[in-house]
Amino acid sequence: MMNLKVFGVARDIMGGGEIALTDSIHSVGELKALLLNRYPKLKELNSLVIAVNQKYASDEVSVAETDEIAVIPPVSGG
């Protein structure tokens, strides 16, 4: 099982700040495709980025259940 931390508007769209996926996922690219398919409103965001172990990660980065994985919508700090 893969646990996702979900923030900001993505949390509202996905219905929670902690989401557990039972799907078999091996890369950031696969995860993003799955999320965009399951939560189509995510497509309306300017961007959707995945952080793996607290680093922004590109699609080819591999992910495992032991990684800390976060769903990062457009940031707006400051």
């Binding site: 931390k5 923030f7 900001g8 508007v9 509202d12 965001l45 300017n46 961007s47 980025v49 952080a51 793996v52 607290q54 680093k55 922004y56 990660a57 590109s58 080819e60 980065v61 591999s62 976060a70 990062i72 919508p73 457009p74 940031v75 707006s76 700090g77 400051g78």
Partner: protein, 143 residues
């Protein structure tokens, strides 16, 4: 000092933390909550952070600035939670030998914080609310 805090920020304390006897110039940026945005009255803002990653990202930004402008001192504090108009959301303070460096470094840091750091704000108006969609995070690491 890098701090993500739910308590009101003590601006003077952030400045004191950045100050240094070797510095002739301290530049401070204070981001505050405006009472109106796009002609709508703001009731409050809600800030949230991916705290551990936010601290790590701010540290990377500071490291780059400290090296590039030979900073003598620095401090960053970012508020989370519910903020009313007039409250301080973020303070960046940097100390440098000369003033030009202090301005450049401070602006670099706040620009990078707004562009890259996983912090989000929602504006709550009379009769509505909206997540602010300022920036996609700019830097993508691959492994």
């Amino acid at each position: 000092m890098i701090k993500i805090t739910a308590k009101p920020i003590d601006v003077q304390k952030v400045i004191d933390t950045a100050s240094s006897l070797g510095a002739g110039a301290v530049n401070v940026f204070i981001g505050t909550v405006r009472d109106s945005v796009h002609n709508k009255h703001v009731r409050w803002l809600e800030y949230e952070a991916y705290e551990s990653m936010a601290v790590a990202e701010i540290r990377m930004i500071i490291d780059e600035a400290a090296h590039r402008w030979q900073l003598q001192g620095w401090a960053v504090s970012h508020r989370v939670g519910t903020l009313k108009p007039g409250e301080v959301a973020v303070v960046v303070a940097v100390a440098a030998v000369h003033r030009k460096e202090s301005f450049e470094a401070c602006q670099f840091i706040i620009d990078a914080i707004k562009a890259k750091v996983p912090i989000w704000k929602k504006e709550v108006f009379e009769g509505g609310e909206a997540w602010v969609s300022a920036n996609p995070p700019l830097v993508i690491h691959s492994n």
